[in-house]
């Protein structure tokens, strides 16, 4: 079953933020959602996670329609938000146990999953440390561990590496790639950082609320006739220059 189905989703604030967005993600797919700040990435994530509702269009998570099932549609979903969401005064373990309880996991099961996820992210030794005492990269790893704790079928990551150094970013990107493959999780990774994109990565380019390109990064580059992804991106968004896009 398709991990995520977005069909003709539009949303407007004072002006349109998303216009007829349609795409799908299959289990095991790793899809990068590339767009400038304000392109609509966070709006799209807010609609998928039901932080607010889509007035038009259809969103299905593993065949579950958010419009029909409400919050129950979020069961197979894992999310890593752009904004840090860990409780700084609690330990890593307490944060993860809290999340596990919200997902209905029994304590023993939760602890096993927690150690598995933290081990995979080289964070098992920090389990009893307060989040406040961790650096930004480690906090991000804990957020990712939390996002996969309940074995989601779809994982959304909204600019999860923002503010991190290049080696940490690369390690996290690599880990999520492996995770998608090994556990057959559909992944949608929103970013505006080109160095997170590999030539074979599946790419969605969002500009002013519209999907303007879909395909592997190398195909997108080839179709636009640009020399690299940065050039292709500038062509796709109509020549706008934007200092937020980082090579």
């Amino acid at each position: 079953m398709t991990a995520l189905e977005i069909h003709d989703v539009s949303h407007a604030y004072r002006k349109p933020a998303l216009r007829g967005v349609t795409f799908s993600i299959e289990p095991g797919d790793f899809v990068l959602l590339l767009g400038l700040n304000g392109a609509g990435k966070t709006t799209l994530f807010s609609l998928i996670t039901r932080l607010f509702d889509a007035p038009t269009g259809r969103i299905e998570i593993v065949g579950r329609s958010a419009a029909e099932l409400g919050s129950r549609a979020l069961e197979p979903l894992g999310v890593v938000f752009q904004q840090p969401t860990l409780d700084l005064d609690l330990t890593v373990k307490q944060n993860l146990r809290y999340f596990a309880a919200l997902r209905g996991l029994a304590r023993k099961d939760a602890d096993e999953r927690m150690m598995r996820a933290l081990n995979a992210l080289d964070m098992a030794e920090r389990v009893n440390e307060r989040v406040r005492d961790l650096n930004g990269g480690h906090r991000r790893r804990v957020e990712i561990a939390r996002g996969i704790l309940h074995s989601p079928k779809l994982l959304l990551l909204d600019e999860p590496t923002i503010g991190l150094d290049v080696p940490t970013r690369s390690a996290i990107v690599r880990h999520i790639h492996e995770l998608a493959r090994a556990d057959n999780i559909g992944v949608l990774w929103a970013t505006h950082l080109f160095d997170e994109v590999e030539p074979d990565d599946d790419l969605l380019v969002l500009n002013k609320g519209r999907i303007v390109a879909r395909g592997t990064a190398k195909d997108v580059v080839a179709e636009t006739g640009a020399g690299d992804l940065g050039g292709a991106f500038r062509l796709l968004i109509g020549g706008d220059t934007e200092e937020d896009i980082t090579a």
Partner: protein, 272 residues
């Protein structure tokens, strides 16, 4: 959704609030100091000046510090309700509210669980205050301490729900202090917490009418009667009614399709 999922989530929310409470010991002491200052300093002064005649539920003349105790208990709960509100605004600004709201459980359940978690914390504060008050001579009927528990849960929920509703309207953490002043102090002073309503009517008729339309008055009276093993049915009805209204409005405010949160998110995104 399995009932066990609800139970675990409820436990998780209460447990987290309790852990946070343990991390914030200053909050516990601050919550105690405020009513104790009222009891030990303010009430001691008034004790000489103000006698309370026999009014239900009291069956004899009582001292002012005994009279004021239920009001101070309600004040602890009101402050705690607003603290919950502050904590929700903080959670929203820090992002951890998103974790809660993207849980696959009904939003009303998540908000009521959060509410109950706040009340659990307030009960620790209330009973600690009553223990200290006991050593300062405020003795209540022994069974009254237990009989008041359901009343304390209800009033705590009502004030917490009011706080939650307030939190849905606050855009930034910095605005909270102003809102506190607009909500807490008028509610406390314009109620039966400090003076019996009949005395209030003698002093000022318009203030009396404000008091009888103030839900805080009914919270205080529900607790006062419960301490003396009685039920004030009118107070119970008002507290239950207000609780339902405040919870209903809070759930509406946090609803992703219609609520205030939706409009705030929209405004923030539009400004970005």
């Amino acid at each position: 959704m399995k009932p066990m999922h609800y139970l675990r989530a409820f436990y998780g929310i209460v447990w987290r609030e309790f852990l946070r409470f343990l991390q914030q010991r200053e909050r516990f002491f601050a919550a105690l100091v405020r009513p104790l200052v009222w009891l030990i300093i303010f009430a001691a002064g008034f004790r000489a000046a103000l006698g309370i005649s026999i009014i239900p539920p009291y069956q004899t003349y009582i001292t002012y510090d005994v009279y004021i105790t239920p009001g101070l208990v309600a004040m602890i709960q009101l402050f705690n309700g607003m603290q919950t509100s502050l904590s929700m605004v903080y959670d929203r600004e820090m992002g951890s509210m998103r974790v809660l709201l993207t849980t696959p459980l009904p939003r009303w359940f998540l908000l009521v669980s959060r509410l109950f978690a706040g009340v659990t914390v307030s009960l620790f504060q209330v009973y600690t205050f009553l223990l200290v008050a006991y050593f300062f001579g405020v003795e209540l009927p022994p069974w009254g301490y237990l009989a008041a528990l359901p009343a304390l849960i209800l009033t705590g929920m009502m004030f917490g729900a009011l706080g939650m509703l307030v939190s849905s309207t606050i855009k930034q953490l910095e605005n909270f202090a102003g809102i506190m002043n607009f909500v807490i102090f008028p509610m406390f002073f314009a109620s039966s917490a400090l003076y019996p309503l009949w005395k209030m009517r003698e002093g000022s008729l318009w203030l009396y009418y404000i008091c009888i339309y103030n839900p805080f008055t009914y919270g205080v009276e529900l607790i006062r009667f419960a301490f003396y093993l009685e039920v004030n049915w009118q107070a119970l009805a008002v507290v239950l009614g207000c609780l339902l209204v405040f919870v209903g409005l809070s759930v509406w405010a946090y609803d992703p399709s219609v609520g205030i949160q939706q409009r705030k998110a929209a405004a923030a995104a539009a400004a970005a």
